[in-house]
Amino acid sequence: MTDARNLPRPTQNIHEYLAEFDDIPGTRVYTAARARKGYHINQFAMSLMKAENRERFKADEKAYLDEWDISDEGKAALLARDYNKLLDLGGNVYFLAKLFSTDGLSFAEAVSTMTEYTFPEYREMMLRGGRSPEGNRSIKANRAAAGAADSKGAH
């Protein structure tokens, strides 16, 4: 007996696969394009796993960053610990986490800086069950819902 589920499925088209990722609100999926763009930011972060590099970085952050092939924009975002900006520049959170720990920040505290909340507010949200997926699944669906609400209001 043939089970339809076990038949080979067509390979997913990479363009369609990637396009869907841009529809998720407040999320930068770590695609190959981002990985390529952020390569040196992530490798810099990786270097902070060594204690002697952490010391050198802390002693003069700017000088340490100048040793890396990172754009001025990237260096500024690193100095400012602007993590959303760093995600846009191809940073990945598991690499950036090396910078969190160099700064002595917990993962949750560093993550909270990317949200609309202060750390105590963020912690409170997590204790209450976290951020709801409702209204957070799809940018297009949110727009459609907002559009429907607007046209309702106009009548």
């Binding site: 990722f21 490798q43 993550v111």
Partner: protein, 286 residues
Amino acid sequence: MARITAGVASSHVPLLGVAVDQGKTRDDYFGPIFAGYDWTREWEKREKPDVVILVYNDHASAFDMKIVPTFAIGCGERYKSADEGWGPRPVPDVIGDPDLAWHIAQSLILDEFDMTIINEMDVDHGLTVPLSMMFGQPEAWPCKVVPLAVNVVTYPVPSGNRCWALGEAIRRAVESYPEDLNVQIWGTGGMSHQLQGPRAGLLNREWDNKFLDMLEADNDDARWIPHIEYLRETGSEGIEMVMWLIMRGALGRKVKTVHRHYHIPCSNTAIGHIVLEPVEEETAPA
């Protein structure tokens, strides 16, 4: 012959390792999380697995962006705890089983899974936290470990179907190993969590529990969940749950649930834990 006697899934949040290492596992915050593992720690003492095939992901510890293997198997003699930026966790070295690991690696490659072989690496919280959750704080880990590292960070990560099929191939490989070994397979990571961007902090109790139900079922529907569904429903890091499918795929069609636990939150993450045993099915008459 060697047999896969059970599958275990568990989150591997680094904060759980901190709680163990700092003796906080029974405080108000961590108590309810660790209570859900008490059953499993007693069960493991009775089960005494010889080897655990431990499916996990490296979090920029052993691998940086220089090399990104999709599926990599540890064939080394031993692995040290990685320094993830605040010093290595004070846990025993992880002892490998190079004979079994190489047997699995060779079998998988003949079975068309083109594995990356690792002979030397340090292992991070993705691997050591599940060991602490299941075995506590022994002087030495009570079993050997075959690390199986999966790329769930750089997209595209392997599909759920591919992960499930890898589990099926691992089972075939284990069952063709002549030594009489009690082997468990663990899938780690998850459940819902998002560690990045303005949507960080997303958790989804309903979806996570639906996923646990799917793992308990006598079918393989879970292998067809597309990546976009994990991303939308469970946060960007919820994709780690594809690693649970490798465990589930290795157990065969029918399983018995012997333990299940779910708790929100641990730091940024929903904690999920399930213990499944394969159920031998009678072959229908031809």
